[in-house]
Amino acid sequence: MRPQHNIEIMAGLFLLLGVVALMFLASTATDMGSKLGKEHYRVDIRFTNVGELKPRAPVTIAGVTIGTVKDIQLDPESFEAMVALDIDVTFNQIPADTSAAILTTGVLGDKYIGLEPGGSPDVLEAGDEITITQSAISIEQLIAKYLFSTNTPGDDE
């Protein structure tokens, strides 16, 4: 039965192709891809205001993505935002006195975290906290600042 045989091979190929497509989509087009097969270490940051930062936003140094925002929570005592970052283990030489800022892609784009490495010989390790931070710039506050020319200092500097 040759034709029957061919049909089964074609059907098998189709199934294979379909499953490969599913896996490929899951790994390259979703956040599964950034989690899959990579190890991370956890670093915490406190901000007074995270603005529109969302989980899974990229974390970059010099524009290169090195990790993602894992989680954003409110510290119930200090009322600061606790942001947990997952940073790829290949970037394990980040100085301890690195500063973090919440930046925006374009004028209305998504928020992301940009890290600015310091000069300390010590490196960040899992569970460490970045202390030098600059919160999200709220456009409304900026406008308010210019309009009323108040001299209140920047949020966090």
């Binding site: 059907a11 190929l13 199934l15 379909g18 989509l25 087009a29 950034s34 899974r56 993505t65």
Partner: protein, 258 residues
């Protein structure tokens, strides 16, 4: 008096069809036997249903991806947010367009041919002949087609999404010059596996069940005439389209609650 009688009949008919559908659905599910023969029959139906729908699904997917990118690029460029074009593309594909369009295309390509095939078997007494040979026609004819369809639709949806993304990349990156790294990383960071990918999967699974079941049901219960088979194929496409869109709303509502 006659008016009252016809009113009762028009009310009775749809209820009867729904009831018959539910019973038939249960019968199809319980008729599945995990035997080698059955699995082989399903596999060869996967060829007729799945492999042969591949080309139309992929061609349509590619162009849907391109047009979707073109449209969103035009709008997003007004805000200078063309980097998000990958996000818009992926989210609308995963959440809505992929499963829905695949189900509709599938119904038009494979559903109609399933309905016509089974209807023709009924009209030429092949189903009767099986019963008389003590072969259960549901088990032999309906079950392989149904399960093959249910397997095929999610896979076809994945292939549709994949080619649509490829079409989007082709248009955005190679024609409009969006940076491919930004395109992918924006898509990656905004498509959630749990929320979007799984929604695509669950939807396509449900749509696969709906589309294939409507096809086998219309074929199996058709009036065994040429006219009846014609109506069965039309009915397959129409009923599938309506039910898919209804279920689309229900699943979206359910999944966004949790």
């Amino acid at each position: 008096m006659p008016a009252k009688k016809t009113k009762l009949i028009t009310l009775r008919k749809p209820v009867q069809i729904v009831g018959r559908g539910i019973l038939f659905f249960i019968q199809v599910l319980t008729s599945f036997r995990p035997s080698l023969k059955q699995l082989k029959a399903i596999l060869s139906q996967v060829y007729f249903i799945g492999t042969r729908s591949l080309v139309i699904i992929m061609v349509c997917g590619f162009f849907v991806g391109m047009v979707l990118t073109l449209q969103s690029y035009l709008e997003l460029s007004k805000f200078g947010a063309t980097d998000s074009v990958g996000t818009v593309l992926a989210l609308s594909l995963f959440r809505e367009l992929g499963p829905v369009l695949t189900a509709l295309l599938f119904s038009g390509r494979a559903g109609t041919s399933i309905a016509a095939e089974i209807g023709l078997m009924k009209a030429t007494e092949q189903l009767s002949a099986m019963e008389l040979m003590a072969i259960d026609p549901v088990q032999r004819v309906v079950v392989p087609r149904f399960f093959a369809g249910v397997i095929c639709v999610p896979l076809l949806t994945a292939l549709f999404n994949l080619t649509a993304i490829a079409g989007g990349v082709a248009y955005a990156v190679y024609i409009m010059g969006v940076d491919s790294g930004i395109f992918w990383s924006n898509m990656l960071s905004s498509v959630e596996f749990q929320r979007d990918f799984m929604m695509s999967f669950w939807k396509s699974l449900v749509f696969g069940i709906v589309a294939t079941f409507i096809a086998v049901f219309s074929g199996y219960f058709t009036t065994p005439t040429g006219d009846g088979i014609g109506r069965a194929t039309t009915q397959t496409v129409v009923v599938t389209a309506v039910l898919v869109l209804i279920f689309d709303f229900i699943i979206t509502a359910l999944m966004s609650w949790t």
